[in-house]
Amino acid sequence: MGHGAKNSGSQEQNELYTRAVAECGRMLDRLPGGYEADPDKRRDLRQEIHLQLWRSFGAFDGRCSLKTWTLRVAHNTAASYVVRERRMNAKLISLEEIERTLESVEQPRDIDREMALREVQQVILKLRPLDRQIIISYLEGMDAASIADITGLTAANIAMKIHRIKKILAHRIREEQSYA
């Protein structure tokens, strides 16, 4: 990703933004995929996230780490987008509601990664923003404590939701593989 950031912000603001992009750039690239399915709108959302991120560094006060700040701003920008788009979208549901619909399926031998990505995106896009934050952060390899810093939920609550997410995704993959 090219970052030709020509702007009028303070030098410190620009430096923080550059550091954040260097540290979390790829995560920021993937994150909109969990909030918008349409490629054009996803690009717009990604640009919006970068704009809000850059703006936010004008008020960075060190209340949390640079990475936590960056991911909070990115997820919150995307959550606001979901709330705005909500009247046009289908009803969003919770992890618990998806979990209740699962039936038993055999474990597959081989897993197609493209199909796995499609499945995970389909599941994420149905969820409420807070659940999306958890699932995306977990897929990015973050632990429960770091996710708790971003979301404000307790680590115990996060662990419980992660358990549900893994169960749901594993089930969806098995189900899809059994049809293939």
Binding site: G4, D29, V83, R113, P129, L130
Partner: protein, 190 residues
């Protein structure tokens, strides 16, 4: 926590998503105005008020020369109500950027604040939809009186249509507000 083989594949697929090479230019983003990202709240109020004023001005333009006091009085009512709505919701209408650090709250705080804002907007729909409803009733009543003077019966289908539209709209917004309240209660208990 033990990793299921399916989940390892899912994570690998997520992390290895193809990279999209889109340059991020802050100057360009600053100037950009994307309609899809405009506030729903703002566009709802503006389109509702705009439509009300449009209907009222058409009615006033076509029927004012006849000095129909009722029409003129109703048109004035629409304009006054629209002005009060614009004043009352001026903060929602104005395109303002949030405080720079507003998005650095935890996800829970931010999402709750967004839901509360949207719920309050839906609950006050009767205020910002009022001018449009009044203008529709005015237009329907005036047009039917002009086509068949004195025959209220002929206006009935139009009134029923408007009433049905209003009831459906109100019920939809009440349901949406209830859903949001339910979600707010859920996350407040976390």
């Amino acid at each position: 926590m033990r990793e299921l083989p399916e989940f390892a594949a899912v994570r690998a697929a997520w992390l290895n998503q193809p990279e999209e090479d889109i340059p991020v230019d802050i100057e360009h983003i600053h100037r950009r105005r994307t309609w899809e990202l405009f506030s729903t709240t703002r566009s709802e109020i503006i389109s509702s008020i705009g439509a009300a004023l449009f209907f009222a001005s058409i009615v006033a333009w076509r029927f004012a020369p006849e000095r129909d006091r009722l029409v003129l009085f109703a048109c004035a009512g629409v304009i006054v109500w629209a002005a009060v709505t614009v004043f009352r919701f001026r903060e929602s209408i104005r395109r303002h950027e949030p405080q720079p650090d507003a998005l650095a709250r935890t996800g829970l705080e931010h999402y709750r604040a967004e839901l509360l804002r949207r719920r309050d907007h839906l609950r006050s729909a009767w205020i910002w939809h009022g001018p449009l409803l009044l203008a529709c009733i005015l237009s329907a009543a005036t047009l039917t009186r002009r086509i068949v003077p004195g025959r209220l019966w002929d206006a009935l289908p139009l009134f029923l249509l408007l009433a049905g539209w209003a009831v459906i709209g109100i019920k939809r917004r009440v349901r949406q507000a209830l859903e949001l309240q339910h979600e707010i209660d859920e996350i407040s208990g976390v």
